[in-house]
């Protein structure tokens, strides 16, 4: 996803690079059960319907309320959740999931494979109009049903063979399918509640889930409480309750509330606060930096012949003239990390060292080879971006770096977010020069990067870049079942991407938050789908 929904407002000006401590008093005792409460900031969630959840406010709570079939650990290994095991047919087309016996919904009904079948087909129902329907397109028959070509979901190849066995057949081999299954849209839905309450089934009192926690109360725009689900099949969490304080702007309001001891964790600490936080004797010991799997880049129209950016040498020159470390550490004050490649660390295909090197000297040479020695005759180009403090600062820094290093002039144009989005959508057909944007992982897999973003048939960012070799590498990678081969395919593809540079990488994303010393085991996940299990790992120490 393009992230603004996840870590909404901007991250910027921080001071120095203060030490980020992760001190936990190891010997402190656990608090009593009644005090196992975490007070957490969030925005008002839209709802907890797996079919249409799409942004952080609901994903972080929703993934505590429902169990997906499987999830992935930090090392990228699949871990069983509601499915006790699963098999893939040798041709890579058929996935069979075996559910754990004896699982119950929070209202006591048994969890069956039919609940998953219903939920998956429901996401594809055109009447539901889910933004994430495309996450189901690898399944045979899914596209036709979602497009309305057929009126019933009968031909969508998902079937509950019996109460505990679910089978899904792919249209073509998709090695990343288990990753998709681990996302929130693939979580089950209690059909009887949906049919009884319509869209109100997501309200407290009507909501039924099969997760570790269950929705206790929800006062819109005020607070929301989830409590440990007594009917949960798995290990019982130590944490008994999470109280979410709902506010329109947790990024700004959570720090004062945290300082006044109304919250145990802050949201992303804001640019205006980070210097003070880092120099505060108490707060400075409570801040933690977490990686967020994502990259901000300058996306270029590679086919616009009126723009110098259609020449790969110009893009390479621009890339090499950027001081990535200075942007991350000085301009963005260490909140983010420098990015010299597109795919972020943690995702297959990410490269430890970029294929292009040589710095500003090489950049000047490339610019000269492109026909603009010393920047002479360079026509200039325009960079647009959606209003965001981070991008405002980065755009100015880039303008300055290119002026100093390459003696070229760049025009900057900041846009109001929706205005930018409309412009962005028009870039699919209209020529443009370049824009700043960012992408964050829904799930940490190259299918969520290389295939969606740069395969010339998908081309999410409208760079119109077309490289036959790249396309065949990433398509082979998506289907490849052998992990080592898959890695090799995506790394070869990434080398092409980072050499041709339809997008010039600038920084990888990150988050800094403060956590009270009595909260043990809390860690922000690197991708949206990894919210699963986050609250189950938290323990409150005596304080």
């Amino acid at each position: 996803m393009k992230l603004s929904a996840l870590f909404g407002s901007a991250v910027t000006i921080a001071g120095g690079t203060g030490a980020l401590l992760r001190s936990q008093p190891a010997e402190a005792a656990l608090a009593a059960s009644a005090k196992q409460v975490l007070r957490y900031p969030d925005q008002e969630p839209l709802h907890f319907d797996p079919a249409t959840m799409e942004a952080r406010p609901e994903i972080l709570i929703g993934m505590a309320l429902f169990d997906p079939l499987i999830t992935f650990d930090n090392n990228g290994r699949a871990v069983p959740v509601a499915a006790r095991s699963w098999t893939v047919s040798p041709d890579g087309l058929t996935y069979t999931f075996h559910l754990r016996p004896g699982m119950k919904w929070s209202d006591g009904r048994p969890v069956t494979a039919a609940d998953y079948e219903y939920a998956w087909k429901r996401v594809l129902d055109p009447a539901i109009a889910s933004d994430y329907a495309s996450a189901f397109y690898p399944i045979k028959g899914a596209l036709d049903y979602n497009k309305g070509k057929v009126k019933t979901p009968d031909n969508v190849a998902v079937k509950a063979l019996d109460t505990l066995t679910l089978r899904a057949v792919m249209a073509a081999p998709a090695a990343y399918f288990p990753r998709l299954v681990s996302t929130w849209n693939y979580m089950p839905v209690p059909r009887w509640q949906v049919e009884k309450y319509g869209k109100k089934w997501v309200e407290a009192g009507n909501h039924v889930g099969n997760g570790m926690f269950t929705l206790q109360s929800w006062e819109h725009d005020k607070d929301l409480v989830i409590v440990a689900n007594p009917r949960y099949w798995g290990p019982k969490p130590t944490l008994q309750k999470v109280v979410f304080t709902l506010t329109d702007d947790p990024f700004r309001t959570s720090l004062p509330a945290y300082e006044n001891n109304e919250l145990d964790v802050t949201d992303q600490i804001q640019p205006a606060d980070i210097m003070r936080v880092r120099s505060d004797p108490v707060l400075s010991k409570e801040i933690h930096k977490f990686r967020w799997s994502g990259t901000a880049a300058l996306f270029c129209d590679t086919t616009n012949t009126k723009s110098p950016l259609s020449n790969p040498k110009v893009r390479q020159a621009l890339y090499l003239a950027i001081d990535h470390t200075r942007i991350a550490n000085d301009v963005l004050r260490g909140i983010y990390d420098p990015a010299t490649t597109i795919t972020p660390p943690g995702t297959i295909g990410s490269l430890a060292t970029p294929p292009l090197t040589g710095g500003v000297a090489r950049a000047r040479q490339l610019l000269s080879e492109a026909g603009y020695p010393d920047g002479k005759g360079f026509p200039g180009f325009k960079v647009t971006w959606p209003k965001l403090v981070t991008f405002d600062l980065v755009a100015q820094a880039l303008q300055q770096m290119w002026q100093d290093g390459l003696k070229i002039t760049v025009t900057l144009q900041q846009m109001e977010p929706k205005e930018f989005n409309a412009a962005f959508n028009s870039y699919a057909t209209q020529p443009y020069d370049a824009f700043l944007d960012r992408w964050g992982s829904d799930y940490e897999d190259p299918a969520n990067w290389a295939n969606i973003l740069f395969d010339s048939e998908q081309d999410f960012f409208h760079t119109k870049w077309h490289n036959t070799q790249y396309d065949s590498l990433v398509r082979a990678g998506a289907a490849e079942g052998n992990a080592a081969k898959r890695k090799q395919l995506y790394e070869s593809a990434e080398k092409i991407l980072d050499t041709e540079l339809p997008a010039i990488p600038i920084f990888h994303l990150g988050v800094i938050i403060a956590v009270k010393p009595w909260v043990q085991g809390f860690a922000l996940p690197p991708a949206a789908t990894a919210w699963y299990g986050t609250f189950g790992r938290v323990k409150i120490l005596d304080h």
Partner: protein
């Protein structure tokens, strides 16, 4: 009086139609639509499904008629953003909070503004007047969100006297920070208008007459001065009330008050057309109501005003 009221109410109808038309046109003319969201790849089919679901693939005139027709039948439509709620529910749930907070802020404004303005007028060109007008200048120059931030920082974060935010009704301590933040500026506006108006009244012959007849001090000012100085105050109050009861996005956000204020902003940034239209209509109704009430109040304040 009855005919007058009826005439005013009938006149409100064309006003509302104009407001609706302008709001509708402006909303649809603004670049970017509700699903021009670059958050994730919206497949063209998904977009088509969404547009069909909310009738956005109909011609504009049809949408104009459809929404108006539904609105007249009491249905303000679904929210595109808060998909589990209807616009009517959003207004029912959050507007009363802004209304209560606004009423509290207005009471605060009157309780501070009237004495402040009176003191400034009576002790004109003395340190009392200078102090009062100093406060007025502060109130006019400090935006309410700065005030809210200051109050929260000082009284919650530093002194720990109040929580940093939240809402538990009018009788809870949490109401104080947003009430003062929203009410301070109207208080100073009232004080400024009252000072000017009262100074004028205090130079009138009848005041001199009252004083000549031996009446002294605050009795003259309150009974003969203040009452006659209130007409301009009633005029500005109408606008001030309309302003404070529709909620302040910033103050509600900073102090975590679940009011309608934030919807004015989130509906705009989210291009949530039904919510935007409903809020434009709600705001228009409030302004029209306040204007009528202000005009009626003249009759109470000034015996020379008669409505036929």
């Amino acid at each position: 009086m009855g005919t007058y009221l009826l005439r005013r109410l009938l006149l409100a109808i064309p006003t509302m139609v104009i407001v609706y038309t302008l709001a509708f046109l402006l909303i649809h003319a603004t670049p970017g639509g509700p699903w021009d969201n670059a958050e994730k790849p919206l497949a063209p089919q998904v977009l088509a499904n969404l547009k069909a679901k909310y009738h956005l693939d109909d011609p504009l005139w049809k949408q104009y008629v459809l929404y108006l027709d539904n609105a007249l039948h009491g249905s303000l439509g679904p929210s595109y953003v808060n998909t589990s709620q209807d616009v009517t529910e959003i207004i029912k749930e959050f507007f009363p909070v802004s209304l209560q907070l606004g009423a509290a802020a207005m009471v605060f404004a009157i309780a501070i503004g009237i004495p402040l303005g009176t003191l400034a007028a009576v002790y004109r060109n003395t340190p009392v007047d200078y102090t009062a007008m100093g406060i007025v200048v502060l109130g006019i120059s400090i935006p309410n969100y700065v005030m809210a931030t200051l109050l929260v920082t000082v009284f919650a974060v530093v002194l720990h006297w109040i929580p940093t935010g939240g809402w538990r009704g009018l009788l809870d301590v949490r109401v104080l920070a947003p009430m003062v933040a929203i009410g301070f500026r109207p208080a100073t506006t009232l004080a400024r208008y009252l000072r000017t108006s009262l100074l004028e009244v205090l130079h009138q012959d009848y005041i001199r007459t009252a004083q000549a007849k031996g009446l002294v001090g605050f009795r003259v000012i309150v009974r003969h001065g203040l009452k006659n100085a209130l007409t301009p105050i009633a005029t500005v109050s109408g606008i001030l009330v309309a302003d404070v009861i529709t909620g302040s996005f910033f103050v509600e956000t900073i102090t975590r008050v679940p009011g309608i204020g934030r919807y004015f902003v989130t509906a705009t940034t989210g291009r949530d057309y039904p919510v935007l239209l409903a809020l434009a209509l709600l705001f228009a109704i409030i302004i029209i109501t306040m204007n009528i009430l202000v005009d009626l109040s003249y009759a109470l304040i000034d015996p020379r005003v008669r409505y036929q």
